[in-house]
Symmetry: C2
DNA sequence: CACCGATGCGACAAGTTCTGTCGCACGGCG
DNA sequence: CGCCGTGCGACAGAACTTGTCGCATCGGTG
C-alpha cells in the first residue's frame, strides 16, 4: 500500500474520468488514466470500486462483448462541490432564461444538467423555506423573441470535436439555394456565434476559398481522421475581424454622440449608461440632451432606431445625415 | 457500525454542507445536519473527516474562540461530477460572453467558479490537444454594447436572501432625483430583471403603494428578522404582467404580420425564423414578402425599426399606420 | 473447431482504516 | 474559580481494502 487515504482521492478521480452516457470507459482504460496521475492500482480494485460507486451514484455499465463499459447515466444531474448555494441557483435560472434565445439548442443541452440542479435547489420542498422561483423573480428579456434555428446535437458534437482536435469533417450540407443537400469534406477553421446562429468557418474540399457554413443547415456531420488543412497564413481572429459579413463596427475610432431625447424616453439612460463619460442635461425645450463617446457600430444605429421619433441625432453630422436619409426614405415608402 | 460503504457517502454529504468562504459551519452543526439525513455519527469522526478532507480539497478552517469553523476557500473552483466535458466547457464560455452585458456583476460573480472551471478545461496544456478557445471560436453578441450598472455584491446578497426567506430589508436607497440617500425598511415582493437592470419590487415602510427599487441604486442593504408584509391580495406574477413599466406585450392575441423586405435584407429570416408558420415568397418587384403570425410586442417594433427603410409593413393595417406615423414624425424632425 | 488472450469475478488473508469511547487540555463565562 | 463546550491524542476491536489466485466466458484467429 503506497499511502493512507489514497482511496477517496482515487475514487474521486475515477468518478471524474467517467464520461456521460453517450461516451463510456473500460476498466483498463481507467487504470491507465489513473496511473498517469500516480495511482498504481490493480484492475481488480477498479472493478470493485466501480461496483461500489455505482450503488451510490447514478453510474451504470453495459457489457459489450466481454468487456464492461462504464458511464454516467444520461439524466444524472450534476453533483458539484462546494454545493450550489441559492444565490448561484438563481443566477443559473436567470442564465437559462436569457440564453434560451441566444444559443442553439444543442449548446444549451450541455448546460441542462446544471440548470436542472439549480431548479432542484430552488424547489420549495427542500427544508429551507425558499420561495418558489417564479413567484418571486421575473425576467423580461430584452432581445427579440425569435427562436434560434435548431441544430442537430450530433452535428454540433462532430463539429466541436473536429474543430478542437484539428481534424477534417465530412458534412452533408443543404446550402441556401440548393434543394438537394450535398456531402463533402470541410477543413474547420473556427466557429462564429452571432445571435442565435452558429457558423462554421472553413474551406471545402481542396478549395482555398474560406466559406461559412451555418450549423443548422447541416444534415449530418462526421469527424474524419485526416488532419485539418488550413490555408497558409490564415488566422481566425484577424479573419473574423476583417470579414465583411461579421463586421458590425463601422469605423475605427469612437464618435462623439449627441442626442436629444423626448421627455420620458431617456429614462433608460439613467439606468444603463451608454458610456462612462456620458453626460445628461435638461434642454430648455423640455428635451433631454445626452452626450457620450461611443463606438460607431451598426448596433448603435439599431438601438437609436428603436427610439424611432423619440430621439434626434444631433451629432456627429455624418450620423445625423444617415438618419435624415433614413427618415426621408421611410416617409416616402409609407407616404401617400 | 450501521452499514458498509457509509463512509464515502457521508463524507460526500459533508462536503456539500460546507459553504463557500464568507459562510462557515461548525462541527456540531454538521453533525445535526448529517443526522437529519440519517448518518448517526460521532462528532469526533466529523472532526477527523474534516481534517482528512482538508488535505484533499481546498477546505480550510478558522478558529473562533475555541470552536473551529470550516469553509471552502473562496477561490476554489467548482468540482463537478460527472467531470465537465469540452463541449460543456465551450457552452459555459459562450454563456459567459453572452451574459456579461445582460446580468449584473453581482449575479455573474456566482457563476464565476463554473466559468473558471470551463476555462481550465479549455486550456491547451491539458494533455488533450484542445485548441485555445479564442483561436477557434468567436462570439459576436447581438445586443447593444451597453454595460449593465454595477450592483454591490453585499446588496444583492441581502436582497436575494430577504426575498427568498420572506423577510423585511433595511435599505439605503439613492433615488433618482434625491442626492442624499435615505434608509428605510422595504417589504420585498419580487425581483424583475430587464436587460441589465435589476429591480426589487416592494413596499416601503408601511405604505401600501408598490414601488420599484433599482438594485444598483442601493448603497447598502441588510436583511431583518421581521417577516415581510405583503399587501392583501398581491400576486407578483399578475402584478408584473399588469404593470405598465414592465409590460412590453401590447395586445393579447397574436397578429398576422405581412412584410416586404428589400432584397438582401431578408437574409436574416432564412436563418432565424420569425415564427413557425413563417412563409417567404419572392415578389415580382424583387422584394421579399414575409408572412408570419407573431406576438404583438414592443420588441417586434424595435426589431422592425432596426431595418429602417429596408422593410415595409403591409399588414396588419394598425401596425402599418403606426409605422407610417413614425416615419412621418421622423422625417419631420430631420426635415427641411 | 480448437486455442489463445483478454476480461470479469469469487475467494482469501494480511494489512489498513474507521469509529466509538476515554481522558485530558483549553478558553470563555458566570 | 469552577463549569461547560470544544478540540484532540490514544486505544482497541470491527470493518474495510487490496493484491493475488484461480476459474469461467467470450471473441477472434489460424
Amino acid at each position: 500500500m503506497k499511502e493512507a487515504k489514497e482511496t477517496i482521492l482515487r475514487q474521486w478521480s475515477m468518478l471524474r474520468k467517467i464520461p456521460r452516457h453517450p461516451g463510456s470507459v473500460g476498466t483498463r482504460e481507467l487504470r491507465d488514466k489513473l496511473q498517469d496521475e500516480g495511482f498504481l492500482i490493480d484492475v481488480r480494485t477498479i472493478q470493485r470500486d466501480l461496483e461500489k460507486l455505482s450503488s451510490l451514484f447514478p453510474l451504470s455499465c453495459e457489457t459489450r462483448g466481454k468487456a464492461n463499459r462504464w458511464f454516467w447515466m444520461e439524466e444524472a444531474t450534476v453533483m458539484d462541490l462546494p454545493g450550489m448555494e441559492p444565490a448561484t441557483a438563481v443566477a443559473f435560472r436567470l442564465a437559462e432564461e436569457y440564453l434560451a434565445p441566444l444559443l442553439p439548442n444543442a449548446t444549451i443541452r450541455h448546460l441542462e444538467p446544471h440548470f436542472r440542479r439549480a431548479r432542484e435547489i430552488l424547489k420549495p420542498e427542500r427544508g429551507t423555506r425558499l420561495a418558489v422561483w417564479p413567484d418571486k423573480v421575473q425576467v423580461i428579456a430584452g432581445g427579440p423573441a425569435l427562436t434560434p434555428p435548431s441544430v442537430k446535437p450530433e452535428v454540433q458534437e462532430a463539429v466541436y470535436r473536429a474543430l478542437l482536435e484539428d481534424r477534417q469533417l465530412v458534412c452533408t450540407y443543404r446550402s441556401k439555394d440548393a434543394v438537394q443537400p450535398k456531402s463533402y469534406p470541410i477543413n474547420p477553421l473556427g466557429l462564429v456565434f452571432r445571435d442565435g446562429v452558429v457558423y462554421l468557418v472553413g474551406t471545402a474540399k481542396d478549395y482555398a476559398e474560406v466559406r461559412h457554413f451555418a450549423l443548422h443547415r447541416m444534415e449530418a456531420a462526421m469527424m474524419l481522421e485526416t488532419p485539418c488543412r488550413r490555408p497558409p497564413g490564415f488566422n481566425f481572429q484577424t479573419y473574423v475581424k476583417a470579414e465583411q459579413l461579421f463586421a458590425y463596427p463601422l469605423s475605427r475610432g469612437p464618435i462623439a454622440l449627441e442626442l436629444a431625447f423626448d421627455k420620458g424616453a431617456a429614462v433608460h439612460l439613467t439606468e444603463r449608461l451608454l458610456s462612462k463619460d456620458q453626460r445628461v442635461t435638461q434642454n430648455h425645450d423640455g428635451r433631454v440632451m445626452v452626450r457620450a463617446t461611443v463606438k460607431n457600430t451598426l448596433e448603435l444605429r439599431w438601438w437609436l432606431l428603436g427610439f424611432c421619433d423619440k430621439v434626434e441625432v444631433l451629432a456627429p453630422q455624418a450620423l445625423r445625415d444617415e438618419f435624415s436619409a433614413i427618415a426621408k426614405r421611410m416617409a416616402h415608402r409609407y407616404g401617400s
